[in-house]
Symmetry: C2
Subunit: 191 residues, 2 copies
DNA sequence: TTGTCAACTTGACACAGTGTCAAGTAACTC
DNA sequence: GAGTTACTTGACACTGTGTCAAGTTGACAA
């Protein structure tokens, strides 16, 4: 890949990871990438697309597809559910910074919202697959419809919840995964 | 109360309720209140404090203290938990607009963040009281420490989760309350 | 050697939104 | 009639985004 472009993306990523969120300005990224602010616009048309490109870059670097294999290969729905939670739950800290920035742009920029909505839709698909596997085994709770179960699991696994527990309440990443897995089992698995 | 001041707060509230969130500008509020933009600054020093005042105004209008009585008077922890969830859960839609705006200001403005953090701390106290009642009855789950139980309940009841389920996934308010009550019981009540 | 092209730089500017300041006005009160 | 309060109008500083125009620099080619 274009070396300047990847230097920009790396800089954006590390600045966002420091928790700046929406406070990370184009000029900050430019400075970190040792480039003029205007030169950023030679590579990305605007801030939103830079952020979107940053999430894609992070996915590439971490080979997210590979990570998902483990949970897809689970034999039963009951095994798949905690594996999926572990996989996604452990990926959250990585994309938290960019996610925060994209969410913060929110209303203001449609592209940014669309990008984040897209990514969250992908997560929802992961949830749907886990729930479907559970249902196929006849182990899905009767208390919720399949759709509702997907909605709830997706909500349970939201970036906001991770941030509140791990950043706000000081939970360790391990404890977060453990507890979330237990909650999911208790509320979604029959019996 | 000062009639202009309350006209401003009403205008701010209704604009925020329409879902504008951070997109609601000072000039929009001024226009809605039929006042000049500059006159807003005669009543509120800045946007953050106007938003904060708006939340307080909403609380006053809805007499939130009164609403809380029901759950406080519950005989047992097991009764108190669903009552608390119902009370707070049904209040969320009311403050959602302002909350969204305050959250969106986030990083940018310390006052705004502080104000929202304050309000969420109050909710956490409600959660803590419910959990404490449960523990006093010896009905708190063994799987979580008391602190963890409070953190989790607080997270479960977050505005973000309500928004995701009721605004994003199209759940009805009633179903949201029902399901949340069930989840809380299954994961926090022993046996 | 000269020409050209791409990547980048510097500097200026338009635009939106917040917050400030100064001067003026209209009504109500003493 | 003087002063006070609540408000108005208009101008302006500041921050951050995005645009534009005119250079500079280095590499590669004829």
């Amino acid at each position: 890949m274009n070396p300047t472009r990847s230097r920009i993306l790396k800089s954006a990523w590390s600045l966002l990871e420091e928790g700046g969120g929406n406070a990370v300005r184009m000029s900050d990224i430019a400075k970190a990438a040792k480039i003029s602010r205007q030169a950023l616009y030679l590579h990305f048309p605007n801030r939103a697309e830079l952020l979107v490109a940053t999430t894609k870059y992070i996915d590439e670097v971490h080979d997210i597809q590979d990570r998902l294999k483990a949970s897809r290969n689970a034999a039963t729905g009951e095994e798949r559910l905690p594996l999926w939670i572990e996989t996604w739950g452990n990926y959250i800290p990585t994309i938290y910074g960019v996610g925060k920035a994209l969410i913060a742009m929110g209303e203001a920029d449609e592209d940014a919202t669309a990008a984040w909505t897209d990514r969250m839709a992908a997560v929802k698909h992961g949830c749907a697959a886990a729930i479907a596997a559970l249902k196929a085994d006849g182990r899905l709770t009767e208390a919720l419809s399949e759709t509702e179960a997907v909605d709830f699991l997706w909500t349970l696994l939201s970036v906001g919840n991770w941030a509140q527990l791990c950043q706000g309440c000081g939970w360790s990443q391990e404890r977060y995964i453990e507890v979330t897995q237990r909650i999911a089992r208790e509320t979604l698995v029959r019996g």
